[in-house]
């Protein structure tokens, strides 16, 4: 097989792939432009709020209890706090006891009761997705983090740069000379001994109060580090081995930056994927695993630590959480949100061995959401929605299964941007451009197949090729049809024998098998010797 024949087998699929990619992008761009134009120049979006049902006094009472904040005093007493008015920083509240007896009403800031303060979730900094973005290959090259070490005169004396591939920091002095490596074990001078931190998840930072040298809380899949570049110290705060970190909250940990509240202990709370709840205390570093009942869910758990006592608050409910799959949401709403649910909040004290001691519990009936909210499952009567529905009728039918496979329910999860850029792009395209008006969509697909059939019938060269192109058009809809047309459109003539249309890609007529006529041999037709009809 020579090069000429070999390239035929590669170039044909290559041409199909190339043309399909271009037409898919062209169709997406045109769809986006139409939807965008309607959004820009169309009538303003209509927000028609469904009429909300009028509540009875009993219902109002139930809703009032539901909406109140439930706070605990250090002795376990529960208070219900109702916000009466909120304007900017001014917040007027009513404080009730568990029997709904009014204890106090005034501005929130002057409340005489000091409630337990719960550790706050660690947020901000740079997460996995942001780190990936920095690593993106652009014309300005990828970037990474560097952490400056700053002296008393506010001069950068060292720079520690994170190397994402090697997964450790390399330190340079102000002249650019290497001064050491910071990996999972410690600061070292030899590159060979530098160990990676582990799969990066998040880093947050704070600084020393009197100058700007930063400290890092470095989170990997199963480890938590504290890195102090000024003191050249890498400390493993927590190593979960075969478990993974799910959630982190902290209290007072950034003592170097802020004046800490002396009543509170300094700690980090970690909930793991396998359901463990671990506290890491500071000065000295101590770890405590809390023996939490298996049925508790991580999201409903909060921790407060005073100097002498540790408390855990658990919020629970009989209600089922909304399903991940968006197409099950309506059924879930009908099943669960038309009923009342028993809901509770419990306070436990965490003993030194990690066991729990029950302190107090407050239980109330959460009213059914349908009492107060009317949710319309009908599609909105808006020009944008209608345009989108009609425009996406020409999208590929593959978008729907791809969206279900990759997307799940991004409206609920909001996490697809934290995945790879490819994942985010796939989810966004299939979410925004998948067909929603299925009858119209199927009609367009059938129409495309019919037109391709009509066009290809006279031009068919083999049955396999003909069927392939029909399936191709069915799979990619308009983009598939345009690809088919771009690669298969040839001139047709009428067969001299049967009078039917035929293409010029094959020698015989697909209808009557008559060969293409050759020109009559003439005196000067020397180049056709051996190919004439005679």
């Amino acid at each position: 097989m020579n090069l000429k024949n070999l390239t035929k087998y590669i170039s044909t699929p290559a041409k199909i792939i190339m043309t399909l990619i271009i037409f898919l992008i062209v169709v997406l761009v045109i769809q986006g432009a139409i939807i965008g134009t309607v959004g820009l120049f169309g009538p303003p979006e209509k927000w028609t709020e469904s009429p909300q049902p009028e509540l009875t006094e009993a219902q109002k009472q139930r809703w009032s209890i539901r909406d109140m904040r439930k706070e605990f005093l250090p002795d376990g007493t529960i208070h219900l706090i109702e916000t009466i008015k909120e304007e900017g920083k001014l917040r007027v509240v009513n404080v009730y006891d568990a029997n709904e007896t009014l204890l106090w009403d005034s501005k929130a800031g002057s409340n005489p009761y000091h409630y337990l303060s719960w550790a706050e979730a660690v947020e901000g900094g740079i997460n996995e997705a942001r780190m990936d973005q920095l690593q993106g290959i652009t014309s300005g090259f990828s970037r990474t983090l560097f952490v400056p070490v700053i002296n008393d005169e506010r001069q950068i004396i060292q720079r520690w740069r994170y190397e994402p591939g090697a997964d450790y920091f390399i330190g340079y002095d102000w002249q650019g000379r290497t001064v050491g490596y910071a990996g999972s074990e410690c600061f070292i001078e030899a590159k060979q001994e530098a160990k990676p931190f582990g799969e990066f998840k998040r880093v947050v930072d704070w600084r020393y109060r009197d100058h700007n040298a930063p400290l890092l809380l470095w989170q990997t899949t199963n480890r938590l580090y504290q890195i102090d570049f000024e003191k050249r110290d890498v400390e493993i705060l927590l190593d979960l081995q075969d478990d993974e970190i799910e959630k982190i909250a902290w209290q007072n940990w950034e003592v170097e930056t802020f004046e800490p509240d002396d009543r509170l202990r300094i700690f980090i709370y970690v909930a793991t994927k396998k359901g463990a709840h671990v506290l890491v205390f500071r000065d000295p570093i101590e770890r405590l695993t809390i023996n939490v009942p298996r049925q508790w869910k991580g999201r409903g758990v909060q921790i407060a630590a005073l100097q002498d006592k540790i408390f855990i608050k658990h919020s629970g409910s009989e209600a089922e959480p909304p399903p991940r799959q968006y197409w099950l949401r309506e059924a879930w709403w009908q099943e669960h949100e038309t009923k009342s649910h028993r809901t509770w909040v419990e306070l436990h004290e965490v003993k030194q061995d990690g066991d729990l001691k029950f302190i107090n519990r407050f239980e109330w009936i959460r009213p059914p959401l349908v009492e107060k909210f009317t949710v319309s499952w009908d599609e909105p009567d808006d020009l944008r929605w209608k345009t989108r529905k009609y425009v996406t009728a020409v999208s590929s039918p593959l978008f729907n299964p791809v969206f279900r496979f990759f997307g799940g329910d991004p409206w609920l999860e909001f996490d697809f941007y934290s995945r790879s850029p490819w994942y985010a792009l796939t989810v966004e395209i299939t979410r925004d451009y998948r067909a929603t008006k299925m009858v119209l969509h199927c009609s367009v697909v059938v129409l495309m197949i019919c037109v391709a059939f009509w066009h290809g019938w006279a031009r068919r060269t083999s049955w396999g090729r003909f069927v392939f192109w029909l399936v191709f058009v069915a799979l990619f809809n308009l983009a598939g049809f345009l690809t088919y047309l771009a690669l298969n459109h040839t001139t047709v003539i009428r067969c001299e024998a049967c009078g039917k249309k035929r293409g010029l890609e094959r020698n015989d007529c697909p209808a009557c098998k008559t060969l293409l006529p050759l020109p009559e041999r003439r005196e000067t037709d020397l180049i056709l010797v051996g190919q004439s009809n005679s």
Binding site: L3, K4, T7, K8, I10, S11, A14, K15, I17, M18, T19, I21, I22, I25, G124, I126, D132, L134, Q135, G136, I137, T138, S139, G140, F141, S142, R143, T144, L145, F146, V147, P148, I150, R154, Q155, I156, I157, R159, R161, E163, G165, Y172, W174, Q175, G176, R177, T178, V203, V204, D205, W206, R207, N212, P214, T257, S420, P421, W422, L425, A486
Partner: protein
């Protein structure tokens, strides 16, 4: 020997563009690096921390000393790829000299190989060598606050390779017998699509795989078209 003769001819024709690209890249890189070192000598030695607090991690992002050079490298390699493809494949169509080239006593494969080799050599000489020399110079301790990363070097070469994708895209468009308003420009459009998809990449290996796939898609069509079409 015939291949070498063809290669010399192609390189001779590419020489002005090759030198121009090398000059632009070297001259502008020297200006950028000179500006940066002067700025750093005046304001940043040893670097003074800006008065704002580094408490937010965003301020720790690496300085982009090379941003301008990366953009320049992209434009130069793409521009050179485009110009070489036009010079090698479109100009003979306008001048109607294809018949002379094709009917020499060399195969079409050799002619095509000669043109491709010349384009690759031109890109390596004008962009690759300059980039490598620049990187070697810039990696010397003391020039930048931190030595450049090896990954940056590899990324520079990926940008140069993208110039090759642009070259092959243009060649395919130039060789296509379709009308310009139908599928003639699809080669170039595909090179553009490849660039957009490259911007989604984080991994260098994936980038390389994507470029190789693009090159296979383009080169296979070019060979098939060149060996089969009539000039």
């Amino acid at each position: 020997m015939r291949f070498l003769a063809l290669l010399k001819k192609e390189l001779r024709e590419a020489l002005p563009w090759l030198l121009l690209a090398a000059f632009i890249l070297a001259f502008c890189s020297a200006i950028f690096i000179g500006e940066y070192t002067r700025w750093r000598r005046d304001f940043d030695e040893p670097a003074t921390m800006s008065p704002r607090s580094p408490v937010r991690m965003d301020t720790f992002r690496e300085e982009l000393q090379l941003r301008d050079i990366g953009t320049l490298l992209l434009y130069t390699s793409c521009g050179l790829g485009l110009v070489l493809a036009v010079r090698q494949f479109l100009v003979p169509s306008f001048l109607k000299t294809w018949a002379f080239t094709i009917h020499r006593s060399t195969s079409r494969t050799t002619i095509l190989l000669g043109k491709f080799t010349a384009a690759i050599i031109a890109l390596i000489l004008s962009c690759g060598i300059i980039w490598t020399l620049f990187f070697w110079y810039a990696s010397k301790p003391g020039l930048f606050p931190m030595p450049l990363r090896q990954r940056t070097f590899a990324e520079g070469w990926i940008i140069i390779t993208f110039g090759l994708v642009m070259y092959f895209g243009t060649v395919l468009s130039a060789l296509s017998t379709a009308r310009w308003y139908t599928t003639k420009m699809f080669g170039l459009a595909f090179a553009g699509c490849t660039f957009m998809l490259l911007l989604l990449q984080v991994s260098l290996a994936l980038c390389l795989v994507m470029i190789i796939i693009s090159l296979v898609i383009l080169v296979s069509q070019i060979i098939h078209t060149f060996l089969n079409r009539e000039f």
